[in-house]
Amino acid sequence: MKASGFPYVIPMLLLSVAFFATPLAVLVGFSFIGPEGLSLHNYARFLGDAFNYRVLINTAKLGLQTIVSTTLLGVPIALLYWHSGKTARQIIIFLTLIPMLTSNVVRTFAWIVILGRQGPISETFVALGLAERPFSLMSTELGLVMAMCQIDLPLIILPLVAILSRIPVTYTEAAQVSGAGPWRILVTVLLPMMLPGLLAGWILVFASTSASFVTQAVIGGARNVYVPQLIYREVGTLFDWPMASAIAVVLLLSTGILLVAMTMISRHRRLVGHA
């Protein structure tokens, strides 16, 4: 008789049920508690408010902006890694990982200094004559996207590096011999082959950005409100835990839908073969 591997999965299964599935079920259950028993009251109230809608859209927008900027920065870095020698590759990986090795709070406070009125960005612009007087990027969406971009860059570079290291140079050579120039090779060969890595990175970046409460709260300030802050307000200020649960479920579902959509794209027959 063939031995089943099931017994070996049991510890992991117990752990998942106890620390992941159960709390999630409790959270979802909580969200249905209304003033008169179980109902969709919380959802109706949350989605019925135009302000909340704007916050949801802003959160998605923040995620998309971060995706675009991390992609624009991450793709060249990943390509640089691909072309580099052994030592340079190690340096690139190390520099990429630094944001992940720093504490979230330290990182966020560093950005307060960088984005502030006396910060290097403002001073450089003034010194170059590009700005008339010092300015602060704190409490702006631009400043927040910049900070998010630094924090989430590894999430897009690492999948790209993983996928690029499996792409042999003969593909670009074949394109070269066929008569393709550098830009054509990038657009018709490298980017399509990198797409599975990009999709993986985009999912990670979006999930990370839309849930990063500390950075959003500190750098975004009171003027830029995102879904995690709404949840925090319900939990910490209004003590309306069922409402907080409902918002959390909405956030989870909207991120989840995006994730499913991207996974479906990555199952496209043109993308499966080389992923």
Binding site: E173, A174, Q176, G179, G181, M193, R270, G273, H274
Partner: protein, 371 residues
């Protein structure tokens, strides 16, 4: 038979003094050869001999340290890989996995900014040329190895190159399929008249495809000749042992006469070659001969070497005997097998008569021996 009226104009290729090094060590040094327009030449040698480096230099994928590459009289030194108008089939085909067969074949045409309708016509023409009509919408991974190879060939010639380079094009295919595809490629090449250079380590492949062979070893050209000449008149010991099989005996030139040379073999026997060798008396030489130049008999004679039979293997129409000489040297003999051919028992004491007319003599270089 698909028409090939718009066949590419094959151009002659000339490589002179090509030298390249990786990290200080010369990978190839002073490689020179010519390919006439429309000719097929194979660059043959063991792996690591630098043949791929030569190919990559011709394709423009590496910048050689020195040397001249001319295609149709034009110096390629300052022509980038994309502008050389060369078609290339890569070792693992390098078909773009995210593009369909038709899109792969159309790739060089898109680079040449060929109009869409013309591109579609050319792709259809290529597909029927490599007998893959109806496969245009498949992805490369949905094809078999042999079909992928044909797509790679179609992509390489779609852009009407004046030179076709093939890097171990049959290496990834199984033996049975290889021969069919070789014949097909040969036919295609003849129809198109395209100048072709094949890099391979497989001597059978090289011999069945190429009109001339460029034999390479350790970054140098050893011999350039037709497959038959390379087999019959090898210029170096390497060529002799690399192409086909060869028995190797060592000895010293003992006596030189007008029409004969006596070699004192290391095993104490003597071998008389019926011609005067270009060596001085006393110089150490290596004598080689093919298995088919050895005749075995059960009775001793003056010039025969005594040998003990290890094993006899029938390989289709031939019978191959492995023997051991008295001093432990291996000897291989082969004969055409007939219905009455006597198959001796292993361990039998036999006498090997060597056809001294067809022996080759090379100066001894102890490090060059293969066995």
């Amino acid at each position: 038979m698909p028409q090939a009226s718009n066949a590419a104009e094959g151009r002659e290729l000339s490589v002179r003094g090509l030298t390249h090094s990786y990290g200080g060590q010369n990978a190839i040094s002073d490689i020179s050869f010519e390919i006439k327009a429309g000719e097929i030449v194979a660059l043959l040698g063991p792996s690591g001999c630098g043949k791929s480096t030569v190919l990559r230099a011709i394709a423009g994928l590496i910048q050689p340290k020195s040397g001249l590459i001319q295609l149709g009289g034009q110096d390629l030194a300052n022509v980038s890989a994309r502008a050389r108008g060369i078609g290339m089939v890569f070792q693992n085909y390098a078909l773009f996995p995210h593009l369909t067969v038709a899109e792969n074949i159309a790739y060089p045409l898109a680079c040449q900014k060929v109009a869409r309708t013309e591109r579609r016509e050319r792709v259809e023409e290529m597909l029927s040329l490599v007998q893959l009509k109806g496969f245009g919408n498949r992805l490369p991974r949905e094809l078999s190895g042999g079909q992928q190879q044909r797509v790679a060939v179609a992509r390489a010639i779609a852009g009407r190159p004046s030179l076709l380079l093939l890097d171990e094009p049959f290496g990834a295919l199984d033996r049975a399929l290889r021969f069919d595809l070789q014949v097909e490629l040969l036919h295609l090449q003849k129809t198109l008249g395209i100048t072709t250079l094949i890099v391979t380590h497989d001597q059978e492949e090289a011999q069945s495809l190429a009109g001339r062979l460029v034999l390479m070893n350790k970054g140098n050209v050893e011999q350039i000749d037709t497959p038959m000449a390379v087999y019959d008149r090898p210029k170096t010991l390497f060529v002799n042992t690399f192409i086909g099989q060869a028995n190797v005996l060592h000895g010293k030139v003992d006596r030189l006469e007008a029409e004969a040379t006596t070699i004192a073999l290391t095993n104490g026997k003597a071998l008389v070659l019926p011609r005067r060798l270009n060596f001085t008396t006393g110089s150490t030489v290596t004598i080689t001969f093919r298995p088919e130049d050895v005749r075995l008999s059960a009775t001793p004679s003056a010039s025969a070497l005594p040998a003990r039979l290890t094993v006899s293997v029938p390989l289709g129409p031939t019978l191959v005997h492995d023997l051991l000489l008295e001093d432990g040297t291996n000897l291989r003999a082969s004969e055409v097998r007939g219905p009455s051919t006597f198959i001796p028992e292993p361990g039998a004491q036999l006498f090997a008569e060597i056809d001294t007319m067809r022996c080759h003599a090379f100066p001894s270089e102890p490090e060059a021996f293969r066995e």
